[in-house]
């Protein structure tokens, strides 16, 4: 519960996960659009957010289908040219979600795959963050975790330049907005 208030963690757990109910559940018809009464039948296949799927899995109420964003097709694409794959469209929190899903699927290869994907994409992101212009196309391909790293690298570069050149050290509070109002 260390990350109880962590926004990224909460949104990661919102990722859809396809599950099959091993038991029936009454009074929760909203979960299954095809259900006619207000119940979910045993054996029905439903998309649940991860937070719910995880807890129900621990109670042995559902089994989890392997998420599509880590399927063989993506793995092959990553192996071919990791930097060019649009991971954000697969899953905005690709790595975090991957780490969360590993214990639930028992897939031994997923961990090393995630590591491979991250290390091969990291180099490109780091060198681009120090360069002058970056195409928005490239930024759109990064997952949220990669975007955070990218921003951190860029920010430290800006700070370094500012420190070397000197100049204003006191600044207007960022929360007031950058635009100066016309008088």
């Amino acid at each position: 519960m260390a990350r109880y208030y962590d926004l990224d963690d909460i949104i990661t757990e919102d990722e859809g996960t396809s599950v099959i109910f091993q038991v029936g559940a009454n009074g929760v018809g909203l979960l299954d659009p095809s259900s006619e009464n207000n119940n979910v039948e045993k054996g029905s296949k439903v998309d649940l957010p991860f937070w719910l799927a995880h807890e129900l899995y621990l109670r042995k109420a559902v089994t989890i289908n392997f998420p599509a964003c880590f399927n063989q097709k993506i793995r092959k694409e990553i192996q071919a040219d990791a930097a060019c794959v649009d991971l954000k469209i697969q899953c905005p929190y690709f790595y975090e979600f991957g780490c969360k899903i590993i214990p639930l699927t028992g897939d031994k290869t997923l961990g090393s795959f995630l590591q491979y994907a991250f290390t091969s994409r990291y180099k490109e992101a780091l060198s681009k963050s120090h360069g002058a212009g970056t195409s928005p196309k490239f930024l759109n391909r990064l997952t949220i975790e990669e975007t955070h790293l990218f921003e951190a690298a860029r920010c430290s570069m800006i700070n370094l330049k500012k420190w070397r050149l000197g100049g204003c050290r006191l600044e207007k509070a960022a929360i007031l907005g950058r635009k100066r109002k016309s008088v």
Binding site: D8, G24, A25, G27, R59, A61, C168, L170, A173, I175
Partner: protein
Amino acid sequence: MYGRRASRLLREITCCEPGQITAFNSDTFEQVCNECNEHHQQLLSLIKKIEDEQLDMETTRNEEHYGAVIHHLSLLRNKRCLMAYMYNRAEIIQSMRWKIGPVLPKEIHEKLNYSEEEYFKNHSTAIESYMSELDLDLTVDMIPPKDPYIQVRVLYDIGDVLLGDHSTSLKQNSVHSLRRTDAEKFISQGLMEEFVG
């Protein structure tokens, strides 16, 4: 889907630039609270069904039980989202006291919820009473100073201000050499800028 609305509330925070505050979304907040109440009602009615069938609450694992579990989990999830929403906003509100000072500009004030305004006021009072106990202004010199005096250019008419033992008239576009500690709050409020060269 359960919990969808609550996470939309949080996405609002992550979408805006870090450190900025969005207007308090009381509509969605209310709706999520109502969702919580609904889950609670459903939960109670499912539990009642189990009790009516005279089954043991702790060991029963029938359809009602799993329905109740799902409502319970959704309730906890919604609670977590609401707590995180308030917590992350409170962090920003705290930092505003250090960056802007005890009085918030109107455009930020409008974005706060009533309880958040109270929180800001109380936080501000707590800091002030601590500082007066120490007899030291903790909000200045956040960046280590190189010189006790700096050159500033006034961006907006501020008027006559008592600085130290004499009053200075701070007119727009005039340049002054002020004590750094005096200038700092005007700069962070965006009324002056550091004047170089």
